[in-house]
Symmetry: C2
Subunit: 369 residues, 2 copies
């Protein structure tokens, strides 16, 4: 089965091999060394001060969102959520479930937030935190998170900025820095591993807040032991080994080359789709390098198309939320190259209004870069 | 590396192969079928009425304990915790973290609870729930959970019995039934998979309580979507496939044969250790079939012994809590046969006060059964 999904994504062979590495004592020296290496490498990749600013939790990405809310926000705290799609909505729901006093800026589907407008709003009223989505998986919009961090600045009274980058980093590089305090990621997208790990990177300010917080009421997602490297509960050993292998591949490729690769894949999908008669639901300027949502002509049913493709050996994702009835989503995140993408798009082409034009539009992308 | 640990445990080849099965859309039909098969098979294995009484969470086993407490207990509810070791203590801490009014029966380390005494206590005062450990991993004690369920009976006012069987089922069979409402398990011990999944089986009474509970305050561990098969957040796909393969192996072996195998391994460890000059810290009558804690002579240091063994290619577990300074633990849970155990014990023998006697004591167990 070919998969062009915004996660799960294809697993490189070296990562698969690491995944089935023999089990060992998670309190033993062998595994302890792997854990230190993984957290050290993640700290470098995500711009965290040390390995003890990285927490790896056996959980889905949503568990990472909840851990951030539980550890950095108290009931009654005021937080601003910038909602640019379904996963922004989820972040809001997680915060609300924990009693946070949420104010929400709802951005129309398919658009990115305006960093100056958000920064202005944050200046007008004190917020404990601002929760934003880096790469909105439901719409395929890349939000200008770094620009927002810059606009908010490093005023000591500035809110903590907590970023859901589950479908962003490391395919789309993002690092902690002034105005950007927490990055939440997951194992199954750009990290090229199977799902099962949530990853959190914390700034020194965020880490201090977590480790000095002795409120009761949390247990599994209490980040304090994870941040001290204590591996409080049985870690998902295979996934740690897999992540270790994947981090080696990521380092070898390099952040800029990786981003360029994903941008090229994005552009290839967009040229293919436009030429084939589909609608690009997101403008070029804010189009995600990792996932593309495409509108179908009214006579095409997304469910039917996906069933046909699955029978032909290709899985793509459906539209979500508002776009469920009219859109499909193509993932090009993680371990995907132009040949993988071409294989999938070729299977799609016969179903498009302009099949030949769609295929022809891929040609420039298939020539040596 | 040989491992004789109470988890992680060795992974059979068929399970390893399933683990690296190509990723697929977790909302697609292929994966949906695997999920249905896994939950249906788990329902049979754990005595749950239907697949919709089974929840599989991407988390460590402790996440399963927390999910049970969060979904079945409200702050202020009175619960009785029967604490027979470190993991009983953890169950208590999880309940306390969620504001449950916990009363605790502390059983001395190395002993099992008395079901009649606990049942008597439960009759004297109303409790919302009783939290017990089936197989206490820290001491190697098997608690009489079924006898307790029988003693408490099916009175509609009886408390929910919630059982941590993380190192018990399926190596030690346990099923839901009158007086036994929730079983919590994890992927990495008897289920022969890598760590990363918590498994909960609920009685009809427990399921009704969960699905009719609309309190806010939970998100990732809110069991309602999991019980409806909605896979609310990205599932740990590889582990689902692995569990599917493992369930096939478990079915092929059969529950009784499996229990007999683990009892034989337990007896082999005990004869070996006693003959070799170690102390059995738990009486035969309540000795766990899956993990054995052994006291060392005062001149032997458990940390030194474990380092020597690790250098020789064998990992065993250290003592926990009260027994940290004087004990080791040998795991014989999951995919372990007499040859695996013999390989490990043979590496241990030279370090024991009576090496030859220890080895000789294994001989009867190595003959064809």
């Amino acid at each position: 089965m070919h998969i062009l999904l915004p996660g799960p994504t294809p697993i490189p062979e070296a990562v698969q091999e690491a995944l089935i590495r023999a089990m060992s004592d998670h309190r033993g020296t062998l595994f302890g060394q792997v854990d230190v290496k993984v957290r050290t490498e993640l700290a470098t990749l995500l711009g965290a001060p040390t390995k003890d600013h990285i927490a790896i939790l056996p959980a889905s990405g949503t568990g990472g969102l909840e851990a951030a809310c539980e550890n950095l926000l108290s009931p009654g705290d005021r937080a601003l959520v910038v909602e640019t799609g379904l996963f922004g909505r989820r972040f809001r729901e997680v915060a609300e479930a924990h009693g946070v006093d949420v104010e929400c800026v709802e951005i129309p589907w398919g658009q990115a937030f305006n960093p100056q407008e958000i920064a202005e709003r944050v200046r007008q009223k004190p917020y404990r935190a601002i929760l934003v989505t880096h790469n909105e998986t439901s719409t395929g919009v890349l939000n200008p998170v770094e620009a927002l961090a810059q606009a908010i600045g490093t005023d000591p009274g500035a809110p903590l900025m907590i970023v859901d980058s589950i479908s962003g980093v490391p395919s789309i590089p993002l690092t902690l820095g002034p105005g950007l305090d927490v990055i939440i990621a997951a194992s199954q997208k750009g990290f090229m591993c199977p799902p099962g790990l949530a990853i959190l990177a914390l700034s020194e300010r965020a880490r201090q807040s977590v480790v000095s917080d002795t409120r009761p009421g949390r247990f599994y997602f209490d980040l304090r032991p994870y941040l001290s490297g204590r591996l409080p509960y049985t870690p998902a050993i295979g996934l740690w080994h897999a992540l270790h292998a994947a981090l080696g591949l990521l380092r070898a490729e390099g952040a800029f080359a990786r981003l360029q690769r994903h941008r090229m894949l994005r552009d290839m999908v967009r040229h293919f789709a436009r030429a084939g008669g589909l609608t690009l639901l997101v403008e070029d300027a804010v189009a995600s390098p990792t996932v593309t949502a495409l509108g179908l002509p009214s006579e095409m049913n997304p469910g039917d198309l996906r069933r046909h493709l699955e029978n032909a050996g290709l899985q793509i994702a459906g539209g979500l939320g508002l776009w469920h009835e009219r859109a499909i989503r193509i993932g090009h995140v993680g371990h995907v190259d132009r040949a993988d993408l071409a294989a999938g798009l070729t299977l799609m082409a016969p179903h498009l209004p302009h099949s030949e034009q769609a295929l022809a539009a891929m040609i420039p992308f298939l020539k040596e870069a």
